[in-house]
């Protein structure tokens, strides 16, 4: 299989403009003859559904939550980048492009990333016009902040709830189209499979989560806007329902999976408090601007935050400041995370589990006063206290890294089309723009760029070549897919074993976290592969699900998702094994400099991994899309 990224020819800054001109158009009067299926209603899905309906297409949108407004984009805190240069501080489309390519450790396509930077400015205009209440200055204009170590202030924000406000903006645009009858919304409905007719994606199979009814929907194109797969680790900052099922079923129907092992681990999350832990909560990384990260120089098992003051200054190891004198506590996410893990592996972690480091504000409070710190971080301190019961004004916070975002996803070309014609992937569900590491405030930008400003252009090019005729759901392809989905659910409810779905999910998560998390090595990855295989084997013999398939059954929903996570987990391990270099959030222990820092290997690994499914229990086949850099020079990151 030859992977064609379809990056347009020509100078970088003209590629998108030229491409838009070359794309075929669908006559306005003919758009209503095409049905587009949108799965997922987060930033990418809601913005795509609204924009396509506005153009005149008939859209069917699906979400598994009780309302499209619940999608997990809502939880994004920090902000959204845009190259507006409102601050006159030297920002430009090219600088945002450059920072994003470099931040992704040179594992993303130049063409895609430049387009992202170009349309970033339109996103802000669009959201403001919808009534999104961004932060403003006293003069009434928009406020910006510098975020995630960027040297310019290009991040637009709405307090710590930027994702919520942007999603509600896209939700409102979609609601308008629901009212117009151009979007038909299916809540509490989960996609179980994609249906391919004559080599093209022509529909999906869904399950009504309330009645259990399995149905077929046909359309002229299918958009998967189904988010990331961080929950493969069981514990992550993702919502409990976030899952890979739609993307995975598409993968099994022929869509290649890009860079599955690229995971982002966020350094400042609230640590695990016990076996009951069901999810992890992110604390904004802005905390590292004033907090100092440390552990004791020697092991103090079970050290509590309230006893931290007893450790004298000379006995403390401010390990980020020590190892990275110029960046200190502000090193990028992956470096901060890895170092926290390292000191905990040495036995110097703090708290009941030993899996935490201190984030100490006592010096900042001494320097600036409690009032200043409260003004900056008051809501975060309150949130921390609510969850842990500890007061961060009096004792240091405890933090630990957690899985936050997955850069990998379905492989797509420049048009956001997967390797299955008519099947698109948008937002976190695709692999495209963040390379091996995503910069802060870039996820919201990419989700909305794909939905508002890319797919409305690129989908026309495909549909213009499609006949208007609808495909009947009576076709054998639909019947077969329904039968398969039904059989699978019936199999699951009839296993009647001894272990709960969560027990299996936890085991899977532990293996992934231990061997395919912050740092990986060949031996560990091979162990993980075996473990995952045996967990999966036991799952299909011993999972216990009560209730039936024809009713609301949350254990069945979970089981169906976890079964896919197990298969994905194995592919992530294969991908991590094959990528014997360190890059971005992927740290491969065998590929390190003498002082233990990540060492990228551009000669052998400057490519996108794209995996092809070959059938149950068959090894997947790796295809490589070579990355071509015509505009930027590849450099090694250094934060010393």
């Amino acid at each position: 299989m030859k992977l064609d990224s379809k990056i347009p020819e020509g100078p970088l800054a003209e590629k998108w403009t030229k491409h838009k001109f070359n794309l075929k158009l669908v006559n306005p009067a003919n758009k209503r003859k095409y049905d587009v299926i949108v799965v997922g209603t987060g930033l990418a899905g809601a913005s795509a559904a609204a924009s396509l309906a506005e153009l005149g297409y008939d859209v069917k949108a699906f979400c598994f939550q009780d309302s499209p407004r619940r999608a997990h984009s809502i939880a994004a805190q920090g902000g959204i980048n845009a190259a507006k240069n409102y601050q006159n501080d030297g920002d430009s489309v090219y600088r945002l492009f450059y920072d994003t390519i470099k931040g992704g450790d040179y594992r993303a396509r130049e063409g895609n990333v430049h387009r992202l930077a170009e349309v970033s400015v339109n996103i802000i205009d669009q959201c403001v016009a919808q009534g999104v209440p961004f932060a403003r200055e006293y003069g009434g204009l928009l406020a910006n902040r510098s975020f995630g170590g960027a040297q310019v202030s290009r991040t637009f924000y709405a307090r710590g709830q930027t994702g919520q406000q942007l999603l509600l903006g896209a939700y409102s645009a979609m609601n308008r189209q629901i009212a117009n009858g151009k979007v038909k919304m299916y809540n509490r409905t989960e996609m179980l499979d994609v249906v391919i007719v004559d080599g093209k994606a022509r529909g999906i199979i869904t399950r009504d989560l309330v009645t259990g009814k399995i149905e077929a929907h046909s359309g002229h194109a299918v958009l998967l806007c189904t988010g990331g797969y961080g929950n493969v680790f069981y514990l992550s900052t993702n919502a409990k329902g976030s899952n890979v099922t739609a993307a995975w079923r598409a993968h099994k129907k022929g869509a290649l999976f890009g860079n599955p092992c690229y995971t982002q681990i966020h350094p400042t999350c609230i640590p695990v408090s016990g076996d009951h832990q069901s999810k992890l909560t992110l604390m904004s990384e802005s905390l590292r601007n004033d907090g100092r990260v440390w552990v004791p120089k020697t092991a103090h098992p079970g050290l509590k935050a309230k006893d931290a003051a007893n450790i004298p200054e000379s006995e403390r190891d401010y390990f980020l400041e020590r190892r990275y004198p110029s960046f200190g506590n502000l090193v990028p996410r992956d470096v901060a995370s890895r170092n926290a893990k390292m000191v905990c592996d040495e036995g110097r972690g703090v708290g009941a589990t030993g899996l935490a480091v201190f984030l100490d504000f006592s010096d900042a409070i001494k320097r600036d006063g409690k009032k200043t710190i409260e003004a900056k971080y008051g809501n975060l301190f309150d949130m921390y206290q609510q969850i842990t019961g500890d007061n961060p004004y009096e004792a240091p916070m405890m933090i630990f890294p957690a899985v936050h975002y997955t850069m990998g996803g379905l492989w797509v070309d420049y048009n956001l089309m997967t390797t299955v014609p008519g099947l698109y992937a948008l937002g976190e569900a695709n692999f495209s723009d963040h390379g091996a590491n995503r910069l802060g405030a870039s996820a919201l930008m990419q989700g909305l760029a794909d939905g508002y400003f890319v797919i409305p252009y690129t989908i026309g090019d495909y549909l213009a070549g499609m006949p208007y005729e609808k495909v009947s759901t009576d076709k054998p392809e639909f019947k077969e897919a329904i039968e398969q989905a039904t059989n699978r659910l019936n199999t699951l409810v009839n296993i009647n074993g001894n272990k709960t779905v969560d027990e299996f999910h936890r085991e899977l998560g532990l293996a992934m976290w231990e061997y395919c998390g912050m740092s990986r090595n060949e031996a560990g990855l091979k162990t993980a592969k075996q473990k995952i295989q045996s967990i999966r084997e036991e799952f299909w013999k011993n999972v216990k699900i009560l209730g039936g398939a024809n009713e609301l059954n949350m254990e069945l929903e979970k089981a169906n998702r976890v079964a896919d996570f197990m298969e994905l987990g194995e592919l992530m391990v294969d991908d991590a094994l094959s990528r014997a270099e360190s890059c971005g959030g992927h740290f491969r222990e065998e590929s390190a400099t003498e002082d233990g820092e990540a060492k990228r290997n551009d000669e052998q690994f400057a490519y996108v991994s794209a995996w092809e499914y070959k059938g149950d229990n068959q090894p997947e086949v790796l295809h490589k899309e070579e990355l071509v850099f015509e505009n930027v020079k590849l450099t090694q990151r250094s934060y010393k």
Partner: protein, 255 residues
């Protein structure tokens, strides 16, 4: 810690439903309330009993999917979402009563899960600014005084959980509706459709069967996001102004 749980069980929408009591002997004060229910459910499944169904998703207090009426209060004893409530807010040995939201417009689907799609339909009636993608002015061409932007933001933080309805003895949705009406009434972007918006959203609210507001302010007291009843006052003003001077009325020559 040990707790006794009195939980509403209802097999489906047509089942009559009733309370069932469970003992949980291994709760920890550090667990979130939903994690405590996870532990209960694991025990139930192991015993061969169907787990308790409840809505939840983000578990960080922002998606608005979790609900639960705990000891007579929506989202329990603290002014936060149920997912942010922790067991340290309860006493060892306490009996905790857990019910679904109770409102005619939020019918029970199963156990503690209710149907809140009425909220979506109210938003669809007018909770938007009618702009298409593209063709909008530069963001900074719409200056907005900071105070107004902040006030609009405070209204816009509503998470649509429905606690206001559950808290209200009339099951009124006025706080929810007023939050969206206020956001757009305050902002210049919302001005062109200001009158139709409030009329349509209120009409839909009434059609869904929500009760009237009698100013008890229970909604504000229980709102996990602290949405102020000032918004209800603003909704009332907007509504009367719209009804008295709607554009249709003006276009029709005031007849």
């Amino acid at each position: 810690m040990k707790v006794t749980l009195k939980i509403w069980r209802q097999k489906n929408a047509s089942d009559k439903g009733g309370f069932k009591t469970y003992q949980l002997d291994h709760a920890s004060p550090d667990m979130s309330f939903l994690e405590m229910l996870d532990v209960l459910n694991t025990e139930l499944i192991k015993k061969g009993e169907e787990p308790v169904h409840f809505d939840h998703d983000c578990r960080e207090g922002i998606c608005g999917m979790c609900s639960l009426y705990i000891n007579g209060r929506p989202h329990g004893p603290l002014q936060t979402t149920t997912c942010q409530l922790h067991m340290r807010s309860f006493k060892d040995g306490e009996t905790i009563t857990i019910e679904p939201w109770r409102a005619k417009s939020f019918p029970v689907i199963k156990d503690l899960i209710v149907d809140r799609s009425a909220f979506d339909r109210i938003q669809q009636a007018g909770g938007y600014v009618s702009v298409n993608t593209g063709g909008v002015p530069d963001a900074n061409e719409i200056p907005i005084p900071k105070k107004i932007a902040d006030e609009a933001f405070d209204a816009a933080t509503c998470i649509g959980c429905g606690a206001c309805v559950a808290a209200c003895k009339n099951a009124s949705a006025m706080l929810f509706v007023s939050a969206k009406v206020s956001q757009f009434a305050l902002l210049p972007q919302g001005k062109p459709e200001r009158k139709e918006r409030v009329e349509k959203m209120v009409a839909q609210m009434d059609a869904e069967g929500f009760g009237s507001c009698t100013n008890t302010k229970a909604c504000e007291a229980e709102c996990p996001k602290g949405i102020s009843v000032t918004n209800i006052a603003r909704l009332n003003r907007e509504y009367y102004a719209a009804v008295a001077s709607s554009y249709e009325w003006q276009v029709g020559g005031g007849e």
